[in-house]
Symmetry: C2
Subunit: 149 residues, 2 copies
DNA sequence: TATTGTTATACTCTATAACTATA
DNA sequence: TATAGTTATAGAGTATAACAATA
């Protein structure tokens, strides 16, 4: 008999979440690439849209990346006319980032792409399990935070 | 009014799974590092333990990495005395990998670490939601496959 | 000629360290 | 002196290409 399965590792939530996260991130990256975007670009767009970050330093802190990296992301989005940079008059060291209409359009396109992937992922799931997933994930990630607007 | 939330992206399963996957993978990596292991090492150990891969080429194909990379992983595990390499007498091109007792011990340590992270992740979840998660994830990742032994 | 494993090389991504300007 | 942003450099991780042995 095989009372205890020899390998529990691949059955653990940790392992499966890690693997699934990579897969999903790769798929998302592939589908937004034609828009000229990378995942971090989309994250920055979302951050600006919900007003949780206004300067580059704030965005870098929330996204957990080095400020020097955020320069590149902002550069890319600026090249796409997705955002504007303007110096904060009150503190001219700060670059205040603001979404443009094009930036909003790009973000909405990202939303649709994410929704499409969500639909694929949950296609084989019982509706109740999908609902449980939507309840559980925010508790595990810690976002989106309740504050909305 | 804000009938439609301005940013659905961070609420999508895709985004949350991507972010959570990175977090969990990082945490797992940090906790197995003292054992001298990286996540890919653990994956290879699991693959060998459940008998789904015997040669390096097979393991590389299943893990989705280049054969040249698998050499490094196998080297690392060999240095830890976690596996043995021996040429297949029937086809001397093939290196047949086999877990040692030490490899089994290391894999069990990884299992315990993964279980610990699982417990942390699900601490704030309703038991029913945790159960739903355990049902749903294998359907989304495609593994572990039903065949067991 | 094709395949397995290996080694060597190149490339991408990210992190770190200077530098400028403002405070 | 400290901070925001920027630029330049270096390191880690991965992929690609060339090689040796065997089929």
């Amino acid at each position: 008999m095989s009372a205890k399965p020899p390998v529990a590792l691949t059955s653990s939530l940790s392992f499966q979440l890690g693997a699934l996260g990579t897969t999903v991130a790769d798929r998302f990256a592939a589908r937004i690439a034609p828009l000229g975007l990378e995942p971090k670009h989309a994250g920055l767009l979302a951050l600006l849209a919900n007003g949780r970050a206004r300067s580059q330093a704030e965005a870098a802190a929330i996204m957990g990346v080095a400020p020097s990296l955020l320069v590149n992301f902002a550069d890319g989005l600026e090249d796409l006319n997705a955002l504007t940079r303007r110096r904060d008059p009150a503190d001219r060291r700060r670059q205040v980032l603001a979404l443009t209409e094009e930036g909003t359009r790009l973000l909405q396109a990202c939303n649709r792409i994410a929704d499409g992937i969500d639909a694929d992922l949950t296609a084989d799931l019982a509706p109740a399990d999908t609902a449980a997933l939507r309840r559980a994930l925010p508790k595990m990630t810690g976002f989106p935070e309740p504050a909305d607007d």
